[in-house]
Amino acid sequence: MRGVLAALVAASVLILMGGAAAAHANYVKSNPASDARLTKPPTEVRVTFSETPDARGSDVAVLDVNSNRVDKHDVTLVSDEPNTLRVSLGAIGDGGYLVSWTTVSAVDGHETKGAFAFAINAPLPAIKDIGPSAPPPSALEIAGRALSYAGMALLTGLAFFTMFIRVPADDAETRRERRLVIVGGAALVAGSALLVLNQGTNIPGRLLLLLALRAFAGVAALLSLAAPPRFLPADARREGIAFLGLAAGLTATLVSHAAASGDLGSVAVDYLHVTAVSIWLGGVVAFAYVAMPSARNADPRQLGATIWRFSLTALVAVAVIISTGTWAAFDRLVLIEDLVETPYGIALLAKIVLLGGLLALGALNLLVWGPRMRRGLTSSAQFWRGVIGETALFAGVLVAAAFLTSFAPPAQANGAAFDETKHSSGIRIELLTATTLPGRNRFVVRVQQGLAPISGAQKVALRFTMVEHDMGEQELVATERAPGEYVAEGSPTAMLGTWKVQVIVRLAGRPDNSALFTVPVSQPAGQEATTKIIAIPPYQLIVFSEPFQPQAGAPLTINVVVVDSKGDPVTGKKVHATFNGPSTAPPLDAIENTAELGPGRYRFTLPGLEAGSWKITIGVSDAGSGVYDLEVSR
C-alpha cells in the first residue's frame, strides 16, 4: 500500500513538474524586437517569455504615443512558438509604439510586467515608469502562505514527534495532540483558501489544482480524527497525518521557485528543506504543547531522555536545512549583497537570523538543560522557557518564509545571452547582452542603489577592448530607456574572442562608478549564423550586416573586419564589394575609419537593397575575394 502511494506521489511530481519553467514569466525576446526601427508596419506583435504564461491573466497591449490601444485585444498563446503570446494589429501608421505586457506565472500565479518600444519611420518613444516588474505580495498572500506553512509544519512535525520521539502517555496528552491536528488541518485549509482568494478568477489551473490538493490534505487530517479507533488505530492515524503533512509540503515545493527552475534536482532539494523545517519546527511546537504539560511534573531524567531524542532529530533536520538552504541561496542569489539589497534577500536573511536563534536555543536544550535534567541536577523551568522561545521564533520563521516565497529571487531567467552583476561603491551594475555573437549587439546596463533603480545618471558608457588582439578601445554611450535601465546598440565586439567591457556610471556629486565585465564572443556551431567568416588567404574576413535582418529599401551597413592568420587586425587595405541580386547595385569601396571603428574595421554603407537574396562579392586589394550571402526581407 505504501509502495503504491509512493509511486503515485512520484508520478504526480513528474506530471506537475512538466509545465514548470520559471516562477516569473520574464521577457526574453519579441517580434518586433525591443527598440526596433521598422520601415513597414507589422501585422502582429509576438512576445516570448522565460516560461509559458497563463493566458487568462496575461495581456499584451500595443499603445500609440497618445496611449491609445491599437491592437485587436486578441491575446493568445502561440502554438508553434513556445512560451509566446501574440496580439494582432490593425492598420497602424508611422510613429512610435509602446508594448506593455503583463504575465501571470502558471507555476505560482506571480505577476510580472514590463514594456518595450518600437517605431515605424519615427523616433522611438520614451518608456514610462510602470513600477516594479514584480509587484510586492499582498497581505492576503503572505497570510495564506504563512498559514499553509504552519499547517504543513504542525501536521508533519507533530506526527514525527508522536511516532518517533514521544508517544502520548495519557488521555490528556492525546487530547492535546488531537487539538494540534485540528489547528494544523484548519491552517492548511484556511491558508489554501486565502491563496485562492488572493489570485481571484485569474488563478492558473495548475496552481488551483495544487492548492485544492493542499486543502484536501488539511480536510483529510481533520476527518482522520473523526474515524473510530477500531477502524483507524492511533498509530495508523499518525502515519496518515505524516503522509498528509508531507503531501502538503510537496504542493508547496511544486509551486516554489525551485519548481520554477524546471530542474528536478532543485525540486528534490527544496522538498528536503521544507520537510526538514516542518519536522523541526512542528516538533518544537508538539514538544511545547503536547508533551510539556504532562512532563512538567514528571521525572526530569525521563524528560532529559526525551530531549536527547528530539535534539538528535533536530540536529539532523538542522544539518539538512543548512545544506539545502545554502544550496538554494547560491542558486537564487546573484551577489552576497543581495541579502541586504533585494526583498528576496532581506526575507532570506530574516529567516536565517530566526533559524539561527532557534538553533541557539536548541543547542542550549541539547547541551545544557537536557544533560542536567538527565542527571537530576536541575528543574525543567529553564528548558520550558527555551521551548516557548523556540515556538515564538517558529512563528517568525514561517512569516519570513511566506515573504521569501512571494518575492522574485534575484537570479531570474531573462533570455539574455550574457548577464552578470557587479558591485561598485554601493552601486549595483548589471550588464546584459542580447547575444554573444560577433557583430551588432544590444547592451543593457541596469543600475541600482539598494533596492531602487537609479534614474537620470549623467552618463552611462561602455568601453570595449579585446583581450587577444589589439582592436583599440571603443566606446558606446547608453541612453536611459526605462527607470535604471540604460541601453546602447552597436558593433564594437566585432571579433571572435574575449572582450573586456568597462561600464562607467556617472552620477552627480560622485566619482565615476566603474565595473569590468569579461564577455566571451563566439559563434557556436548550430547557432544561427548572423555573422559570416570568409577565408581569403592570407586573411579572414568577419562580415556582418546592420541591421542583422535588413528590410527592403532601408539603410544598410555591411561591416567587414579583416584579420591576418594570427588574428591581428589588418589596416590600410582596399576592400571593395560587388552586388549580385534581384536588381542592380553599383560596386562600392569600403571606408576604413580606424579612429572611430577600431583597427581592421571596414564599412560599406548602402541606401538600401531590393528584397530578395543577394550575393555580395567582397575583395581585398592584395588577396582574392569571397562571397557574402544576404537575405533582404520585404
Binding site: E473, R506, R510, P511, S514, A595
Partner: protein, 200 residues
C-alpha cells in the same frame, strides 16, 4: 647660399617639431568650434594619478593658411576640470611660454578614470562653451601608476586614506565591543551579587 642653408634648417626644425609633437597631439581631441580648431588633452600623456599635470589647450584659426595660433585666450577663456560626477575645479589658464596659441591649466589628478575639461568664454569675439571628455578616440583617462612601480609598490594618497579609514573603523568597532563587554560585565556582576544575596 646662406639663405638656402637657412631654409633647409628652418624646414628641418619644422619637420622635427612635427615629429616630436605629432605623438602628443595624436592623444588629444581635435574639434572645430566655428573657424577655430581646438586641440585638447593632458600635457603629459599617458597621464597618471598623483602626478602634476596640466590641461593642454591649443587653438588655431583655420581661416588662414597655414592656420594661425590664437593668442590671448588666458584673458578671455575660463577652464575647469571635473572628475566623474564630482564638483568641478577651476583651473588657472596661462599662456604657454614660447608656444603661441598654447595654454596650460595645472592640476594634480588624485583619482583614476575619466576627466572632463570645460572651456567657456570668448575666442576673438566668438562665444564658446565646450566640454572635452577623456576616453577612446579622444584623450587619455588618468591611469593608475601601480603597474609602473618597481621594485616596491607605493600606495597612493587615496589608498592610504582608505586604509586609514578602515583602521579607524576597526578602532571604532573595538571601542563599541569593549563598551558592550563592560556593560555586560557590570550587569553580570550585579546579577551575581543579587543571586548571592537572595541565597544568603
Amino acid at each position: 647660399m646662406t639663405r638656402f642653408i637657412s631654409l633647409v634648417v628652418a624646414a628641418l626644425v619644422v619637420v622635427s617639431s612635427l615629429i616630436i609633437y605629432g605623438g602628443t597631439a595624436a592623444a588629444h581631441e581635435r574639434r572645430m568650434v566655428g573657424p577655430y580648431q581646438f586641440v585638447v588633452g593632458w600635457l603629459n600623456e599617458p597621464a597618471y594619478v598623483g602626478l602634476m599635470n596640466s590641461l593642454d589647450l591649443r587653438v588655431t584659426d583655420t581661416r588662414v593658411t597655414p592656420a594661425k595660433a590664437v593668442e590671448g585666450l588666458e584673458k578671455t577663456v575660463t577652464a575647469d576640470v571635473q572628475s566623474g560626477g564630482l564638483a568641478p575645479l577651476s583651473l588657472t589658464v596661462t599662456a604657454r611660454f614660447g608656444t603661441a596659441g598654447a595654454y596650460n591649466g595645472y592640476v594634480m589628478p588624485t583619482a583614476t578614470g575619466t576627466y572632463i575639461f570645460h572651456l567657456k568664454g570668448k575666442v576673438e569675439g566668438l562665444d564658446i562653451d565646450e566640454k572635452f571628455e577623456s576616453g577612446p578616440g579622444r584623450f587619455g583617462d588618468i591611469e593608475a601608476t601601480t603597474a609602473l612601480q618597481y621594485p616596491n609598490k607605493v600606495p597612493t594618497a587615496n589608498e592610504i586614506g582608505a586604509r586609514l579609514g578602515d583602521l579607524q573603523s576597526g578602532i571604532d568597532q573595538t571601542r563599541l565591543l569593549s563598551g558592550a563587554a563592560v556593560v555586560i560585565g557590570v550587569i553580570a556582576l550585579g546579577a551575581a551579587f543579587a543571586i548571592s544575596r537572595r541565597r544568603a
